[in-house]
Symmetry: C2
Subunit: 510 residues, 2 copies
């Protein structure tokens, strides 16, 4: 495929790429040659207006037709072949196997929503009339779901496929019947264009209104503001940093009409190693945690950032645990981060953590080329953690912090200090059950997913998944961005009262 560097505005490739921005080859550490057009405000406005024009007709397509559209997008992504993998690898520095896996997951997500649509109306409730009811007759009322309207989606830096152009937000919005205006991430614009080409082919094959999908390229922050404050945009999906997410939230707060903002912002994913587990499996658990931490250079939203144990620095079990973790981590290869800016942020954060009083460096990973970063494991005690707010923040990348608590009471205090998280894991043996039960009763209110004896990385895409949680894990605690429930973010209830069959959606007819 030729990469044009242009925006896809309702079926047209537009924009002046001269003076535009370039992507960065994360592996060779050099700017790429293709330049990409920063979308103009006219282009963004056209994309949103065309999406809005397409809304009513797209919202009325049958679930079967939308399912076919989603499957066709998946097929067209598949048809991009190796070019998609090499492009995404270059733009993100992620290895080919990871990108191949992510491609499979992305297509799997599209098919999951297609399956859901083919199964029929979601959660419809029908209460028939009862004309004999006293004191008043009961009307016929039927609860269905409507799509919200145009959805603005922001691609994530760390998942160039599964949380980007045709990722979970796009798939669930399109499944719900909402047109999508997608803001590509400036770190992987060529990957975005390839996937947008696939979506455009699916639009042509399925004869869908071209307004239903637009891809906006750009590094200009005004584009984001324009999207989230546009009166035709009725919901926004975002996966990224707390800093940027809260800027978007504040802009959305200025709207005369409130709209839902689904921001997945940050998580330290605390890992609790309970006393018996630490005593009996310290090495295995340490190795498991290091393995989870290394996934994608720690650039997973579910990366295990804080490991909580009960014990003193001099305890045998604790030493055995940290020794095993240190040995494992020190053998881990250095690697390139998603962008040079993230590498710089990571390097600065590691330096700051290393300079923090009361924090010790347990181990670092192997060092590499100039552009590579290395893993780092730190340790501290609860008192230091409690009094040092910077330690409470997510450190994006393959670094973790061990927090030693004196006793279970302190472990509970640590738990109460937590803000919201996507996940937490309790690593325990049967002999820990009483403490695990007590912990889980508080911990459950701090997380979107509570895990037992498994690592947090690897998010299963299924009906029972929840990828969200208390703020800042999500700006909208009642929703998940992964799994089939994610479609509900872009639908809302509607009650049809006493409607003739001909005016009811098919799924609500007798």
């Amino acid at each position: 495929m030729t990469i044009t560097g242009k925006n896809l505005i309702a079926g047209e490739w537009t924009g002046d790429t001269k003076g535009g921005f370039t992507a960065f080859d994360a592996v060779s550490h050099q700017a790429m040659t293709t330049t990409f057009a920063d979308a103009t405000d006219i282009e963004v406005n056209t994309a949103i207006n065309r999406a809005n024009d397409a809304f009513i007709s797209y919202s009325q397509t049958s679930p079967e037709n939308r399912a076919h559209f989603l499957r066709t997008i998946g097929e067209q992504i598949s048809a991009l072949g190796d070019e998609l993998v090499t492009t995404a690898c270059a733009e993100t520095g992620l290895p080919a196997m990871r990108i191949q896996g992510e491609r499979g997951r992305t297509i799997g997500q599209l098919n999951l929503f297609a399956d859901l649509l083919e199964k029929g109306e979601y959660d419809a409730v029908i209460d028939l009339a009862d004309n004999d009811r006293q004191p008043l007759p009961k009307p016929d009322t039927r609860l269905g779901y409507l799509p919200l309207g145009v959805v603005g989606v922001f691609a994530a830096s760390n998942f160039p496929l599964a949380f980007s152009t045709a990722g979970g937000d796009t798939a669930s919005a399109l499944a719900a019947g909402c047109p999508v205006v997608m803001k590509a991430h400036a770190a992987h614009p060529a990957t975005a264009e390839l996937v947008a080409q696939a979506i455009l082919k699916a639009i042509d094959i399925c004869d869908v209104d071209k307004g239903v999908f637009s891809l906006i390229q750009g590094k200009n922050y005004a584009i984001a503001s324009q999207i989230v404050t546009h009166p035709h945009v009725k919901a926004v999906g975002f996966t990224g940093s707390e800093r940027v997410g809260m800027i978007l939230q504040q802009q959305i707060n200025q709207r005369p009409e409130p709209i839902p903002f689904y921001g997945e912002l940050g998580s330290i994913n605390p890992q609790y190693i309970m006393p018996e587990k630490l005593a009996q499996n310290s090495q295995a658990i340490a190795q498991g945690l290091v393995g989870s931490l290394m996934m994608g250079q720690g650039q997973f939203c579910t990366s295990p950032g804080v490991w909580v144990v009960i014990g003193k620095e001099t305890d045998d079990h604790y030493q055995s645990f940290t020794d095993a973790a240190a040995k494992s981590l020190s053998e881990q290869a250095a690697g390139v981060m998603l962008t040079p800016a993230m590498c710089q942020s990571y390097t600065n954060a590691i330096k700051e953590r290393n300079d923090t009083t009361g924090v010790t460096l347990v181990a670092t990973g192997l060092s590499g080329r100039e552009q590579d970063c290395s893993a780092a494991l730190f340790a501290t005690d609860f008192a230091t953690y409690e009094s040092t707010p910077t330690l409470h923040q997510e450190l994006f990348g393959f670094s973790a912090l061990i927090v030693r608590c004196d006793d279970f009471t302190q472990m509970m205090k640590f738990t109460k200090l937590l803000t919201g998280n996507l996940t937490a894991s309790i690593h325990a043996l049967d002999a820990d059950l009483t403490l695990s039960a007590q912990l889980s009763q508080t911990l459950v209110h701090k997380v979107g997913r509570l895990i037992y004896n498994q690592m947090p990385t690897g998010v299963e895409v299924c009906a029972s998944m929840n990828h969200g949680g208390p703020f800042p894990a999500s700006t909208n605690i009642r929703t998940t961005s992964v799994g089939s429930e994610a479609i509900k973010r872009f639908q809302r209830p509607i009650c049809y009262q006493n409607m003739p069959q001909a005016l009811l959606p098919k799924a609500l007819q007798n």
Copy 2:
């Protein structure tokens, strides 16, 4: 019962009623004798902190125990007997039969959620493990729901029971497992205290933590701000005006942690009378609309405020329609509004509408005592409506506006001008079906409930109800404040991964 005039703070009646505010007898039009204590910031803070302290234990009560608690509240409200009816009638000016009906509905709502809880976990999804799955084993994942935490609820002026102290917001929050801090409405504080006494009795009978419910009295606006910005408050329910609702929304927007705000703010509830219906049933439909408009002096959130027809002023069908409406309306008794301030607002709005160029007064209801207001029906054409933004706003009370459209195209233009509404009705015959179908495809995106050949007043409390809709009908389009789905506002999903049976809630165990 003795009315103390005090706040109920976690089981204790506190506050200095000297210098407090008094309720107003809407019928006799005189201030009442009991004075009520404006809650202090210390009392509000104590109520919220005690609610938060009670949260974990209350969240872990069994659904059966919460169901019993809700039913007991209903029984204790019933046991208040006639005193509740006479008190609410005096404070609101609503007739006894209406208050008796509303009491029945309030107890019915409590029992509806009790039924729901007794039926078992809501929407739980269990996906078992599959260790043989390739390329990776599938973990055991189970989706359940957790209560959000302390909920702040604001009582509505127009429903002193069903949308107030033990109304739908309180019932659904308590059902979900959330403690409630209730701000009473200053227009009916004695009614609020009586119901709070009933709740306190139920707390004692069911041995529930006293922090689970507090009643805050007051006229001081700082109380509202303190409730919605308190870090322990995790959701807010409000039914009231768009003006006050948006003040609360803006205060909530200032919080570091976003929380859901469920504000039901305003609705003009357009009534479409389709051409054949107008031609053949003009008198019956006119009388039906007047009857609906008169409910509670038009002080229903679903009051039919705008009636849309196709026709010219000189058309026979139109004249027959307005003649019948005018005749019916002119026979309607005057009545007292909920508060003198509302009477003043209504009177001012009627005067402004009467003075609006292009708007004609079709009829007024009977006049009454000095403190009474009279119904009023106006008419205008679409061009005037389109160019006069004040006509688009809700006029709270028993006044409606007929909008004449030249043709169906103009009726569709009117529909596109609409902001969000709780309801709309299409009044039509079979011969109108083609136009009704076309209309409903756009209209459905403007309302929370679409009604055919029935009046909008009277909200059925059932599983398929939706009482919400696009802004300003609701600040949170994805939720309903009436019906069993209302419980979802105060719950959020949680995924349990690979958890031992003993650590799972009962409903998620094998």
